[in-house]
Amino acid sequence: MKRIYLDHAATTPVDDRVLKAMQPYLCERFGNASSIHRIGQEAKEALEKSRQIIADKINAHPSEIVFTSGGTESNNFALKGVAFSNRDKGRHIITTRVEHDCVLNSCRWLETQGFKVTYLGVDENGMVRPDDIRQAITKDTLAVSVIHGNNEVGTIAPIREIGKICREKGVYFHTDACQSFTKVPIDVEKDYLDMLTINAHKIYGPKGVGALYIKKGTTIDAWQHGGGHERNLRSGTENIPGIVGFAKAVEIACKSDVVQMTEFRDILITRVLSEIADSSLRGHPAHRLCNNATFSFSGIEGESLLLRLDMHGIACSTGSACSSHTLEPSHVLMAMGLSHEDAHSSLRFSVGKENTAEDIEHTVDMLKKEVGLLRKMSPVGGMDVQ
C-alpha cells in the first residue's frame, strides 16, 4: 500500500539535498565552532554561511539571527527573554487565543511570575483583528506576539498591519512563523518585526533546529546560560549539521513548490466541499497557508476518521499533533467559536511538495468512503450522506 503523507504541518521529511548538505558535518567536519583550530574554524565557517542564508531570506542582518533548538525554544526565548529584560518598564503582554501551545504556555508561566497577559479572541475564520491589538495596548504593554500562519487552521495573520501598530505604540512585536516560513514572504523590515520564530522541520529540514530573529537594539535576556555562544544570547555548542541543514532547506525552498502545494490544497478543498455533504472548511478561505486544508465533517469524530484513513495509508491530523492525546476540543477551533461537535469532527490535511495529484484524488475518494461509513455508524450523522 502506498503511504500518503498529508501531515506536513506536523513535520516534513528531510529533503535529499538537505541530507547531503548535512552529512559531511556529522563525521568529517565534526568540529566545534568555538575551537580555534582548523577543524573548528571549518564548522564556524559553515555556521556563519548558514546564518547569512537565513538572514537574507527574511531581509535581516546575520548578527540578528540566533540559532536555537527549534520553534518551541525560540518562542520561549522571545517571550520570557523580553518580558524579564523589560520588567521595569512594564508587565503586560498581548497574544491571541490561537497560538501554538509553546507560546500559550510560556505566557501562562509568565503570569505566575507577575506578568499580565491578554489573550485576544479571533473571528470565525481564526483571524485576529488588528484593531483589537491597538485597543489592548496600554502604557504597561511590553510586547505583542501573534502567530503568523496558524498551525491548525492555516489562517495567515496580517502581521504587517499589526507590526505597524506595535511600532507606532513602541511595543515589541514577535511572530511565530514556523508554519509560514518560506511559504509566505517575510521581510523583517517591511513587516515591522522585532522578533521572529522559525524552524527547520516544517520546511524539509531536520528536527531540533530553529532560529530567533532579534532586531538589533532589542532589549532581551538570554534564556540559556553557559559558554556565551550566539553572542551570549544562547549558550551551547552549535548544532552545526542541523544548522547547515536548516540553511539548505531555506535555500531550496522555492516559489514553484508553493504553487504546487496551493494547487493540491485547492483540489482537496474543492472536491471535499462539493462531494461530501455537511463538510465545512475551517480557517480563512483566502488568507490561508498554501498547504493547509482543515475540514469539519458533521456527525463524526475526527480521531475515528483519522485512524480509518490511516488504514488506507493516509496520514493526517486532528488539530495539532501535540493535542492529539487530550480529550478537549482544540483551543484554536473553540476560539473561532465552533461548537464542540464541529471542533471534535475536524481533520487537518497539510500537503507537501512530494505529494502527487493522484495522492490527493485518492485521499478524497477514501475520505468520501470513510465519512460515509462513520456517518452510518453515527446516531446523529448519516442523514445527508451522498
Binding site: 475515528s304 488504514m311 464542540h340 461537535e341 471534535h344 462513520l374 455508524m377 453515527s378 446523529v380 450523522g381
Partner: protein, 165 residues
C-alpha cells in the same frame, strides 16, 4: 496507541445499526469528549424463562475506542441474561479489548452505561421492578447525556437526535 483487538473491532465493528422494534434503547454521552452512543436491545427468554438479550445493536459517534468498546460490549452482552448484562463492568470490556489507554478508559464506561440505560428503558417500559443501583445510574447517565447534547451538539444534530427517537 491502541491494542490489536481495539483496532480490529474499530476497523470491523460488530452489531452496528438500529433495532426498529427495540424493547429498550440506551442513549449516553460524554460532554468532555463529545462522544455519543446509542444501544438498542431486543429481549427474549432463555430455557429457564429468564430475560436475555436476544439481539443488540449500536450507533456511536466517537473515537476509535468508543467504537471498539461499543462493538465489544454488544458482543459480550448478546445472549446474556439481563442480570448478567447489568453486572458487566468497563473493566470486562477493556480487558476483552486487550486494555485501553488511560485517557480512553471512560469510553468503555460509556458502553456499559449505554447497556444499563437500554435495560433501564426495557424494565420501565415493561413496568418491571428497577434495581436501586440501576435507577441511580440512570439519573447520572441521563443528566450527562443532557449536558452532552446541550454543550456538544449542533442544533441540527440535536434535531436529528430527537427525530430518530
Amino acid at each position: 496507541m491502541y491494542s490489536k483487538e481495539v483496532m480490529e473491532h474499530f476497523s470491523n465493528p460488530r452489531n452496528i445499526g438500529v433495532i426498529e422494534d427495540a424493547d429498550g434503547i440506551g442513549k449516553v454521552g460524554n460532554f468532555i469528549c463529545g462522544d455519543i452512543m446509542w444501544i438498542y436491545i431486543k429481549v427474549g427468554k432463555n430455557e429457564n424463562r429468564e430475560d436475555i438479550i436476544e439481539d443488540i445493536k449500536f450507533k456511536t459517534m466517537g473515537c476509535a475506542a468508543a467504537i471498539a468498546t461499543s462493538s465489544m460490549a454488544t458482543e459480550l452482552a448478546k445472549g446474556k441474561t439481563i442480570v448478567e448484562a447489568l453486572n458487566m463492568t468497563k473493566q470486562d470490556i477493556s480487558d476483552s479489548l486487550g486494555g485501553l489507554p488511560a485517557v480512553k478508559l471512560h469510553c468503555s464506561l460509556l458502553a456499559t452505561d449505554a447497556l444499563v440505560e437500554a435495560i433501564y428503558d426495557y424494565l420501565t417500559k415493561k413496568g418491571l421492578p428497577v434495581p436501586d443501583d440501576v435507577s441511580k445510574k440512570h439519573e447520572r447517565i441521563k443528566s450527562e447525556l443532557e449536558k452532552t447534547e446541550k454543550i456538544c451538539l449542533n442544533p441540527k444534530a440535536q434535531e436529528n437526535s430527537l427525530k430518530k427517537d
